[in-house]
Amino acid sequence: MAIHSPATRLDQVFHALSDPTRRAMLARLATSHCTAGELGAPFRISQPSVSKHIRVLERAGVVRRSVKGRHHTLRLVPAPLRDAEMWITRHRQFWEGSLGQLDRVLAELQRDE
């Protein structure tokens, strides 16, 4: 397993989240662990596509596979999702806070003119 920088990992998580099928898969895994077959069942896509989506999720570190004999169980790993959430939260706070200040400054500028 390669050692990834936080930036690379964030990229992979954002990539994983950029697809609606994968987001639906994560929402499904948030309710309970399941097999690859169960995870792919609700989607009208081929088995290779399902496997590909799962590989993207595993690479991003948001899904972990455990193997017992022939049974592969997939589980959600929430921590990297929280990193992405933190990135979004923090930048949203930045923009919302700044735009609040801009409102005040625009009022001042127009009053002074």
Binding site: D11, D19, P78, R82, M86, Q93, G97, Q101, L102, E108
Partner: protein, 171 residues
């Protein structure tokens, strides 16, 4: 929101201002005006070191936080259409926890109801293949996912220690 062409994932926010688009645009592109507002709260200072609002022009802003830390953000302007659109890259420098991660900001200025609506999208491009059709509903989905995660983990992993970073820009 996401841009279907890139299938990026990020955040968006909007706000209406009681001011003409030409003035709001100036506030985003003139150093003296930027230094009066471009920071998340009044106790954070911002110094505009470089600001060249033209395609391929650079910018460098340095934020000073009440605890004495200074954190620069740098980038390059891609699109500069007066009173209409600004697009630029956005990269934090150390000591920011996301230093070195290039992100992309698009600001649209839309005149509406006698004022100007500003729409901001801030995204980290998805870097790999992937050009799936887009439902545009990532925000709702992420929220639903967050709620699921909270329910199933009793908030254990949302401990205040991890929240610390979130406050970097606002305290």
């Amino acid at each position: 929101m996401s841009d279907p062409a890139t299938d990026a994932f990020g955040l968006s926010c909007s706000r209406w201002f009681d001011a003409p688009a030409t003035l709001v645009f100036r506030a985003f592109t003139e150093p003296a005006l930027l230094e009066r507002w471009f920071c998340p709260s009044p106790d954070v200072g911002v110094r505009v070191v470089v600001c060249e609002p033209r395609p391929k022009g650079r910018y460098r802003f340095v934020f000073s936080f009440p605890d004495g830390r200074t954190v620069p953000v740098v980038g390059e302007y891609h699109t500069v259409i007066p009173a209409t659109r600004l697009a630029f890259t956005w990269t934090w420098e150390p000591p920011d926890p996301w230093a070195g991660t290039e992100t992309f900001v698009t600001v649209d200025f839309v005149e509406r109801n006698g004022g100007t609506e500003v729409h901001i999208r801030h995204e980290r491009f998805a870097t790999i293949e992937m050009k799936a059709p887009h439902d545009g509903g990532w925000r709702g989905t992420l929220q639903a996912l967050e709620e699921e995660l909270r329910r199933h983990h009793d908030g254990r992993e949302l401990d205040p220690g991890r929240r610390g970073n979130v406050d970097d820009l606002t305290t």
